[in-house]
Symmetry: C2
Subunit: 487 residues, 2 copies
């Protein structure tokens, strides 16, 4: 019986196993393992991607070390007795200053540092004035006077942050002004030795700021100005590649491999770099002279160049869209228009690359005018060819003399829509590239670029010019371009 019972129970138990708890358990445990595995996989992916940000731009690693070092140094004010005796608990303000104002670029660190010092000092002085008035008026009025003034000043200062020019240059300073005024004026109600406290705080803030600015400027500085400069040069090159790539793709002379597709869509990063350019230009003006940039380098002009580049880029985007449209041009016409169109594309790209070299070497180019004239001429030739096309080509694509009226053939308008559009857009691109040329020329005047006299005699001018930027700096700049693309 016992055996029988055991036999009869076994299948029951087996059935239980098959669609019951243990299966569910196995299921749950598998789901959990899948979940953990996917979590681990995602985490690894995230870590790898995060690591790559620094590998692509090692300046980011260096920045982190700089922050770490500065913070450790400033914390010595707490640890070392001779330093602590000088500033006491106010050492906190030095630490706070370092954390808050140490930014990636030197320009933004200086901007925040100066704003912090000025905001603190101004607000501190004002708060002392208020405190003095209150002490004369008597304690019972102090609460009312300080309260009303705090309300009014905080409201007014907050309002001033909406004004574009103040927002761009002193936003942080105004915030610090409100902060300091509030703290000092209301502390006055409780702390008797207000002046000593305030003096210690301002001095620790100055210590923190100076340390940040020094570290930021001395250890491998990251210049917002240089970043802007490299960004603009990189964008000009991208535009050149984009134009040439687009034309080549349309006339099917280029197989669309990964490299050429990447070149063609370069215009997209030009279209997207407005915010970065503005931020960099804003910080660049706070930077001291560095490298080849003097104190009043016309950073704003780079924004103008950026704006004209974006206009050109949006034209390339339209060209890119039109190329994919349904109206296909006849093979013959495309073949005939190919060479002159490619020439326009190549000349436009040459002009843009010459502009990039002009900015890179900071020397006025004497090839530029010739290149611009060449670009205009080829563009005009292309248009003339298009205009005279029905007269000079018959349907078989063989050329006939222009004056031979009897041989004239008509081309269906359907077949020329696309090519006419492409030529028009190329023409429009040429016009917009001329705008970029004007802007760069303005920059060369404003920034007093040197005229390059040697270039005509010396064929290796470009090499010379390129060598002005040291290989290390060049590497650095390539990294910057990469970085900015990521951002």
């Amino acid at each position: 019986m016992t055996n029988n019972e055991g036999v009869t129970k076994e299948p029951e138990w087996r059935i239980k196993v098959e669609d019951g708890v243990i299966w569910k358990r196995a299921e749950t445990s598998r789901t959990m393992w899948t979940f953990i595995a996917s979590l681990y996989f995602n985490l690894c992916k995230f870590m790898r991607k995060s690591w790559e940000i620094g590998v692509n731009d090692p300046r980011k690693f260096i920045h982190c070390l700089k922050v770490g070092i500065t913070l450790t140094v400033v914390s010595l004010f707490y640890y070392l007795n001779p330093l602590y005796d000088g500033v006491g608990g106010n050492a906190m303000w030095a630490v706070m200053t370092v954390v808050v104002i140490f930014e990636y670029t030197a320009g933004s660190t200086i901007y925040k540092g100066i704003n912090r010092i000025c905001g603190t000092t101004l607000a501190g002085l004002l708060a002392f004035g208020v405190h003095w008035v209150c002490s004369k008026a008597g304690e019972k009025f102090e609460l009312i006077i300080v309260g009303v003034l705090l309300f009014l000043l905080a409201s007014a200062a907050t309002y001033s942050r909406f004004i574009p020019i103040i927002k761009a240059r002193f936003d942080y300073g105004v915030m610090i002004f409100i902060l300091t005024f509030s703290l000092v004026s209301i502390s006055g109600y409780r702390i008797d030795e207000l002046f000593d406290v305030a003096k210690a705080r301002i001095s620790t803030i100055i210590i923190g700021t100076s340390l940040c600015i020094m570290v930021s400027l001395i250890i491998r500085p990251v210049w917002a100005g240089l970043d802007l400069y490299v960004l603009v040069i990189g964008n000009i090159d991208k535009l050149a590649d984009s134009i040439q790539g687009c034309v080549a793709q349309y006339f099917e002379l280029e197989t669309s491999d990964e490299e050429s597709t990447k070149n063609i869509i370069g215009y997209k990063s030009v279209l997207n770099s407005k915010a970065t350019e503005e931020a960099l230009a804003n910080f660049a003006r706070w930077e001291p002279p560095h490298g080849r940039f003097n104190f009043r380098h016309p950073w704003k002009q780079y924004l103008k160049i950026g704006a004209t580049m974006r206009r050109c880029a949006s034209c390339i985007e339209t060209l890119n869209g039109c190329i994919d449209s349904e109206n296909k041009t006849s093979y013959d016409m495309k073949k005939n228009m190919s060479a002159p169109s490619m020439k326009v594309g190549a000349n436009t790209a040459s002009v843009l690359r010459e502009l990039a070299i002009t900015i890179k070497t900071m020397t006025k180019s004497n090839k530029l005018d010739t290149l611009v004239i060449e670009m205009s001429n080829t563009s005009q030739e292309l248009q003339n060819l298009l205009k005279s096309y029905p007269n000079t080509h018959n349907k078989n694509g063989t050329e006939v003399p222009y004056d031979d009226d009897d041989e004239k053939f008509e081309i269906p308008i359907m077949e020329i829509i696309q090519v006419v559009t492409v030529v028009s857009l190329l023409n429009e691109i040429v016009v917009r590239v001329k705008d970029i040329v004007k802007c760069v020329e303005e920059l060369s005047n404003l920034a007093k670029f040197e005229p390059s006299i040697l270039s005509k005699c010396n064929k290796s001018k470009q090499h010379l010019a390129d060598n002005k930027i040291s290989p290390e700096q060049q590497n650095d700049e390539e990294t910057i371009i990469k970085t900015i693309q990521i951002v």
Copy 2:
């Protein structure tokens, strides 16, 4: 003699006056007055312009008052003894929190507040852990352990701020984490009752944050989400006006008065709104459900709509540029192409306006499909007309039957370049508007827009729909659009 001397001296004196000190003095005083006057004039201009920012968007005035009120309220922790006894000198942290985290939109205030609380708490706990380990390890190791950990954590946390997803959502939190960890871990070296201090600080930070979030949400809240929503709707309307205006200007049916020029260049603000859109979408996700937006409203989709709109806008920009080009179309051809082109422009504008209404009313439009088909048809008709143009029109602009081969006339290609380009670009714009339609449809699915059933029966659907937004809200939204244009 004295007289004579006087006479002889007078001319000398006069000469002295004429090119000497007094003239200079007068000159200086005049220059000074001019300087003061111009300073006064510029100051007045600056003040007027600053004032207008608030007049155009009264929410900015209200925001300033909100900051003033919150700051005054939080300063009561200093003034009122029962409150001061609770938190003591740590009331400073509440004031600091209010100044630092109170931002214009509710979303950004919540973002900063939550980041501040989480960053502080996490870093505080970690610092306590470190402090506990140090207290076990002995005082002589404390300096080394804390120093090394501070360096490593500060570097790692700073690095994490470069990772896009952390930068977008937790940038402020990471900064506060570094700040708190530094302050607590190094304070542990000097302050014995670290736990009490930290508890008081965290509680004051929570008090400050709660106060800010409450004021920000209760008194006339400024929603980043609503701003984004209104910005996108406004931009769609601007695109519609721009397209219609451009076509009308080209076919010279519109005299270019100030109003129409303003309409045409509407695309520019579409091109420039990327940064604003991204910032608003980033803050909108922190906001609680408000108005017609639920908790998981697909704010990201607005960014997609914005991107497709910018693609359309860059096409309009190119169209605008091509219109001004040298190649002028013959009057006859332009006249003949005018009506169908205008129709395409009008239909495209209708589709865009319908999209704006769809988003505004948050109801799926059942007119939209018809409008899109109509737009595609008119665009196809326009192309067909262009393709058959040489066959159906003679040089005098009178129509001839299509099959009448003998009457066929040829049109010089020069005369059609511009019109072909304009038609191609209009076609491209139609294609890109279809992309916008797709994106808005995606939004309507994601945000579960209600289907509008009544619309077919009720001719006054649009009125009804418009009325869903109260007049006050409408006013509010108009103000927002104005504001965002200024920003």
